[in-house]
Symmetry: C2
Subunit: 407 residues, 2 copies
């Protein structure tokens, strides 16, 4: 006689059946560690608000772990796509609030659990879940062929691209970030499970970031070249810069994207073995900053003003400087990755570059054109994956991802 | 005119040259964040002592991140092998004490930095580095053919093995664990760099563990099946159990291994998509414990006594119970892994099983024989990588890894 069974991080209401209800309920009261028993809503600073005009996970201070998964939609019609996005929204709303994924109806003991369970004792740890739409979604399958926003254009080919088709493209993307790797993995796993029959994972990438700084005032993290990376990045609390460079504006066309952003994701393999055999002076000239404190060459401190024309002409910082690109900036949110070793025994490692921007045609596209041709650092990197995503605006408590396009 | 240049997490003594010594030295004083300036030795509880009768990283409370790398030795002779192990020991001694890797002589600005630099602002975060020797090292290359300890035997083939040769074997292994993934990766990277010409990475595996518990009294972490895993594990502070089941004893033969241990490493792919479609009742019967609190079926609390004969005959906990294997136990130190998605869009995920034991022939080998044939959980796992390592004893302040065998 199976009874209802609700798995929750806080309330473990265990129905009985053959295994003995009394003993198990007794056990719940003694749940060690993670078993919090206070109210249904947790206002901990370790939760990131899911609702708002913009999706969380963009201007949010960067978490320590990333699980990024691109999907191919297999649903036959618009109704299936809408159902998927609505189910995903509900699950993301729950998980980011530290609640497990639940069914609408009560789960039954003989049915598979509605949540896979590996985060039952864990905190959401600033989990954010962010969704994006790929160019391929705007074909004739869902009647969206004339709704594709102009900034969602395919990227041109660049020198240094060694793109693996198995790491490119996709109809939908989920970016999950948390300070706990198991929480990020859990979110992708449960969303892909919910997608069964409607969408399937096309490719995925895990990454890690700085270990301790959790706010925009923290020290700048170092990339796998050993250099500070992100000194001049847009801060998540700089509303003016976000409006100018990150959030799509109503005047940009495609009104359904207002409040959203565009994400360029590039898997940048770094040939660290070659880099590590390069002298410190050559490393610093390639970057345009010192390795230790991260100061622009010729200056003293990390945040001293960059004078691009005083830097080596092929230095990364000079070539990427906004003054050479009409003042354009991107909000970078990249993560380091190490996917084991390759067949030569070299680290399959690098930067999973994530950059949010108002229009890639005026930001990533021209900047990368310059870098890929002239950047001294480009001798040590290969771009092995590429994708561009329209990241729709955020949702309210009753909203769902994509409603401004599909609702 | 390049000057000496020492990269250190604490002392950034920057020589001048073309870039301006005065400005840079000024910057050092203002180093943000991680720039600690107290003494050369850091007695922080976040450091794990490198020296001792046993290597650190075995009985040490489990850290959050793993980078595990197997190497093929390419050195031509015993002198090369000894030099490698001595250089590795020196580098590991430095990194685990929160110091960067340094040359014996002063590094010069025009030479590659002696440390790759990506942890300059980071703390070692309980870094441990543990070395092991593989069976293949005991061939005729280094005159060790008659020194191989008997417990370092190849494992038999088991049902459920789908071993990828690219994930098996090796002459040497480095297990690095830290609460910071970048610190673990940095250690493997610098050790493989030091090994250039003497050894090359054969394969590598990254993993992650529980996010917050850092001591043996913490809650039991959950694996990717969503179940608590390790309830009955040997505690790192249980000296009697360690002596009985983990540390090689002088009476075991191969006196050079006394104080060491044997490590069985298995990459266990979990087919989580199938598992997630299984009912809660079937999941619990396969494991032999409840999913929520982790109590043995029929009992109330996680640490209630397991009565194996009351559990389903094909349950994992019953089949692995010490009472069925002459009382044998292993110290398990596994990490979850997610290596992206496979070609079907399934998570390439599972458990990187690490088990330290006094003699695998009396521990892992018979237990796995039983599990691989009868365990209900084995329907949801495939073993895709396998290796066995002789992990020599620890070293003193002037010692080096392997000295009891090669010194």
């Amino acid at each position: 006689m199976p009874a209802t069974h609700r798995l929750s991080r806080r309330h473990l209401l265990v129905g009985g059946g053959a295994l003995g209800a009394v003993g198990m309920v007794g056990a719940v009261a003694g749940l060690p560690g993670g078993g919090e028993t206070h109210g249904d809503h947790d206002a901990s600073p370790q939760l990131v608000e899911f609702h708002g005009p913009h999706q969380a996970g963009i201007a949010t201070p960067v978490q320590q772990h990333l699980h990024f998964a691109a999907f191919d939609v297999t649903a036959n019609d618009l109704a299936g796509l809408v159902a998927l996005l609505q189910d995903w929204t509900a699950a993301a709303r729950a998980m980011t609030a530290n609640r497990p994924v639940e069914r609408v109806e009560s789960a039954r003991r003989l049915a598979p659990p509605s949540d896979t369970g590996e985060t039952l004792d864990l905190h959401a740890a600033r989990l954010t879940i962010t969704v994006g739409l790929g160019r391929s979604l705007f074909d004739d399958r869902f009647g969206l062929a004339d709704r594709s926003p102009a900034p969602l254009a395919d990227l041109p080919a660049y020198p240094g691209d060694v793109l693996d088709p198995a790491r490119c493209g996709g109809d939908l993307v989920i970016q999950t970030c948390s300070d706990d790797p198991q929480v990020a993995v859990h979110a992708v796993r449960n969303l892909s499970r919910i997608a069964t029959g409607l969408a399937a994972v096309r490719w995925a990438q895990l990454g890690f970031g700085k270990a301790s700084a959790t706010d925009t005032a923290g020290p700048t993290p170092r990339n796998l070249f050993g250099f500070k990376d992100g000194t001049a990045n847009i801060r998540g609390d700089d509303a003016d810069a976000l409006a100018d460079h990150v959030w799509a504006q109503p005047s940009d066309g495609s009104a359904w994207m207002a409040g959203g952003s565009y994400l360029v994701a590039r898997r940048i393999r770094m040939t660290v073995e070659s880099w590590d055999r390069t002298s410190l002076e050559d490393q610093e000239r390639a970057v345009g900053r010192t390795k230790d404190v991260g100061a622009p060459l010729g200056a003293a401190r990390e945040h001293d003003r960059v004078r691009p024309h005083g830097l080596p002409t092929d230095s990364h910082v000079r070539l990427a400087h906004p003054s050479l690109h009409g003042g354009v900036r991107m909000l970078r949110r990249g993560f380091s990755f190490v996917d084991g070793a390759d067949e030569l025994g070299h680290l399959d490692a690098g930067l999973f570059f994530l950059a949010y921007q108002r229009d890639p045609r005026r930001a990533f596209v021209p900047v990368q054109a310059e870098l890929s041709r002239h950047d001294a650092m480009s001798r040590y990197v290969r771009h092995t994956g590429s994708s561009v995503w329209a990241v729709p605006p955020g949702v309210g408590p009753d909203g769902w991802w994509g409603e401004t396009l599909l609702g």
